[in-house]
């Protein structure tokens, strides 16, 4: 066993590192102030640089403008890139989820029109799946698309859309035949986010920020040529996209406080009977946090090892998000308790560790839901990994418009 690169990986890493070191320049750190337009422009500049150097679409087939390399190459690139604060998040959904869906299920015309411009950073994409009534039960989508000549007319509302207000295009799943059972009447389209009738509104979260949007569609016209996959195949097509999402959502959010934060804090905090770090309950909580967070990291290394050998990773990666999110919430609550009244006061004078833990306590409540709730993820583990039978789904075979 070892944690080293294979010779091939090491060679690629050397090449990547050299290129990044030579090109990172202005992208080394995040500027102190940056408005939306700066952020988009800066993100595009970096993406274009990578595109021109052949470091985009690393695992994609060459036919679609990719490099035709293996997943370890992508991982090595990401690792090297993450040594700096390069702006990558604007493209992660488009290139991670949308465009692979387009080139897996879209027509050659769509591929020719969209793939290269996404890869080069010229156009930004978002994904329009979730709706207020279709969260865990994603196939309950109600946004409808009605055929009108060679066009489709879309009406409805999507929610939890990342970067909708910055995007040029989106992939959207709509109900095109409500008389079919819920999974059968859906169709996927590419929609122009600048088209008339599309309105993206920031969605304010409990935690205060607005990382997502609500997007309203009112009589938005999409040409049938912008259908992705066959009519009625939307669910099947969406599954491709979601498969990629499951791989993406998982680890602990970067910079989220972990066991080391708690350990440091416990050294500073005095309880009535001495330093908190000496207390058995605190030590057990540090241990439990280490076991959860480091256990997930090690589990991800198991997956990387499989990829490195050209094998499929095992199902164990499926445990990541449910462990990380709940551990974050529990650890943050414990740490805020430890800080007694200090854990409650916010604002500039708050100890930076405590402030991060306060953020964690709020954010973890969302993380336990985003990309699959704890309950849905346990169902998935039980059903897909352990082979237990699915919940009864009385609406599964009913026409959508006949189901309650």
């Amino acid at each position: 066993m070892d944690f080293n690169d294979t010779p091939q990986e090491a060679e690629y890493r050397t090449k990547v590192r050299a290129w990044i070191d030579a090109n990172i320049g202005e992208f080394r750190d995040v500027p102190d102030t940056m408005d939306r337009a700066d952020f988009v422009a800066r993100s595009k500049r970096w993406q274009t640089k990578k595109y021109e150097a052949g470091f985009t679409g690393i695992t994609w087939p060459k036919a679609f403008g990719g490099q035709g390399l293996g997943p370890m190459n992508q991982i090595v690139f990401n690792q090297e890139e993450s040594r700096f604060h390069a702006p990558t998040e604007l493209f992660s959904i488009g290139l991670g989820m949308c465009i692979p869906t387009v080139f897996s299920h879209g027509s050659q015309a769509l591929i020719d029109r969209y793939v290269a411009k996404a890869l080069s950073g010229e156009e930004v994409w978002c994904q329009l799946f979730s709706e207020p009534v279709a969260g865990s039960d994603l196939a309950g989508i109600r946004t409808k698309a009605v055929k009108d000549g060679d066009d489709w007319v879309i009406d409805g509302q999507k929610v939890w859309t990342t970067n909708a207000h910055l995007s040029d295009f989106g992939i959207i799943v709509c109900r095109t035949d409500p008389s079919k059972p819920k999974h059968k009447g859906l169709t996927m389209f590419i929609v122009d986010m600048h088209a008339p009738g599309v309105e993206a509104r920031p969605l304010k979260q409990m935690s205060g920020g607005s990382d997502f949007n609500e997007v309203f569609f009112t009589g938005v016209r999409v040409a049938d040529s912008h259908r992705v996959g066959a009519e009625g195949d939307g669910w099947k097509v969406a599954l491709t996209t979601l498969m990629n999402e499951r791989l993406a959502v998982g680890g602990k959010p970067r910079h989220a406080p972990g066991y080391a934060t708690l350990l440091d804090m416990a050294k500073r905090v005095q309880r009535d009977d001495g330093a908190a770090i000496e207390a058995a309950d605190v030590r057990q909580r540090i241990a439990a946090t280490y076991i959860a967070d480091e256990g997930i990291k090690l589990t991800q290394m198991r997956a990387l090892s499989a990829l490195s050998k050209g094998e499929m990773p095992g199902p164990e990666s499926s445990i990541a998000k449910v462990v990380v999110a709940k551990t974050m919430q529990d650890m943050a609550a414990f740490a805020l308790d430890l800080s007694e009244s200090g854990g409650f006061v916010t604002g500039a004078e708050t100890d930076p560790d405590v402030a991060r833990l306060q953020g964690s306590y709020l954010w973890s409540a969302g993380l336990r839901i985003a990309g699959g709730t704890d309950e849905i993820l346990r169902n998935i583990i039980a059903e897909r990994v352990l082979g237990l039978p699915g919940d009864l789904r009385p609406d599964k075979d009913l026409p959508f418009n006949a189901a309650a």
């Binding site: 207020p132 979260q205 007694e340 009244s341």
Partner: protein, 366 residues
């Protein structure tokens, strides 16, 4: 055996609930989030008119002279409604003054509380991981120096009772907030509805309220009253979760049919009823002056914090994505949970206090 509130207290609870259900909805809490005033003054006027601030004030001081039972049920209903008024603060201050205030102190403040002319608040925290048993604020002679933060309802109050290190140990002191040497400013906290403040005392005038021993007895009483508040808040979170579970459909079923949701709701109820039993025990001990006061108070505090955290967190979880939005009421309970921890110290501290009480009782019994 009569381990239950009196009929009078129950009638008051009903009256309070009806009033607050109508008048102090979560919309009121949401409005308060953005308000300039540190509390809802119109609602407070009505609360005072209903006599709630007079409840525990002796008749001689212009109050109603009601018992601990009545204070407990009012605390629960205030907790349930999230009503943005300085009721709990004034109640906890009243409790301390009634318990050990000198006649002069009582005369000075209690009548004003009863008629709504004055507002009280209490503060033990110092923002840096102190515990209720310790204090950095220090008294020399009749002057106090130190910082108290977060102090709930500080910006609304006329008088603050604060814990400080005196010549005999840590105990409560009375601070007239209009005195020189007193500075107060708003302090932001996780709870966006209940306002808190930072109280800076620089050689400010202060008067002792009781002794270090009576400070601990007041802590017990405060823990019991706050447990009822927490029970009310937790019940409201549970009710919200149950309501949503009955109404939201996923995969062709109401989500309340899924054991994943259903068992969470059952666990909320289990934790709540355990906490309620201990809180009621506390109410009895408070009223009876029973030897079990310390253990009953600590158990009520620990159990109610446990119930509140669980109900607040899992209510949001049951709501899924919508629960995480700013517009959802879930955030009120999720945030208030932290406010109630901060109001009197953590589960850990109170667990330790509970075990100390059990050890002492066992030692006496042996």
């Amino acid at each position: 055996m009569n381990f239950d509130f009196s009929d009078d207290a129950k009638a008051l609870r009903e009256q309070a609930r009806r009033f607050l259900d109508e008048r102090a909805t979560t919309k009121v809490a949401r409005t308060q989030m953005a308000a300039d005033s540190p509390y809802d003054t119109m609602l407070w006027t009505q609360v005072v008119e209903l006599g709630w601030t007079a409840a525990r004030v002796p008749e001689a001081m212009g109050g109603l002279g009601l018992g601990g039972d009545e204070a407990c049920v009012l605390a629960e209903e205030i907790g349930r409604s999230l009503a943005p008024v300085p009721f709990m603060s004034t109640l906890l201050a009243t409790e301390a003054l009634v318990l050990v205030g000198t006649e002069e102190q009582q005369t000075r403040w209690l009548g004003g509380f009863a008629e709504g002319a004055l507002i009280g608040c209490v503060g033990w925290g110092e923002g840096d991981a102190a515990s209720p048993a310790r204090a950095g604020a220090k008294v020399t002679g009749d002057r106090i120096t130190g910082i108290k933060v977060p102090v709930p309802d500080l910006m609304a109050a006329d008088v603050a009772l604060v814990s400080a290190q005196g010549p005999d140990g840590v105990q409560l002191y009375v601070i007239d907030l209009s005195d020189p040497g007193v500075t107060r400013e708003a302090a932001d906290t996780i709870d966006l509805v209940r306002r808190h403040g930072r109280l800076t005392l620089t050689n400010a005038p202060c008067a002792p309220l009781g002794t270090p021993d009576t400070y601990h007895e007041w802590l017990d009483r405060a823990a019991i009253l706050t447990s009822f508040e927490a029970l009310g808040t937790a019940s409201a979170a549970m009710a919200m979760a149950i309501g949503y579970a009955k109404e939201r459909t996923a995969f062709g079923q109401k989500i309340g049919r899924y054991q994943g949701v259903k068992h969470k709701c059952a666990d909320m109820y289990i934790k709540l009823e355990l906490a309620r039993a201990h809180a009621l025990h506390g109410a009895w001990a408070m009223q009876d002056g029973a030897a079990e006061l310390r253990q009953a108070a600590a158990a009520a505090r620990v159990a109610s914090l446990d119930a509140l955290a669980y109900c607040a967190e899992e209510n949001l979880q049951i709501h899924g994505g919508t629960g995480f939005t700013w517009d959802s009421d879930c955030q009120f309970y999720y945030r208030r949970n932290r406010a109630i921890v901060a109001a009197l110290g953590s589960k850990t501290w109170w667990s330790d206090r509970l075990v100390r009480a059990l050890e002492r009782r066992n030692a006496l019994a042996a």
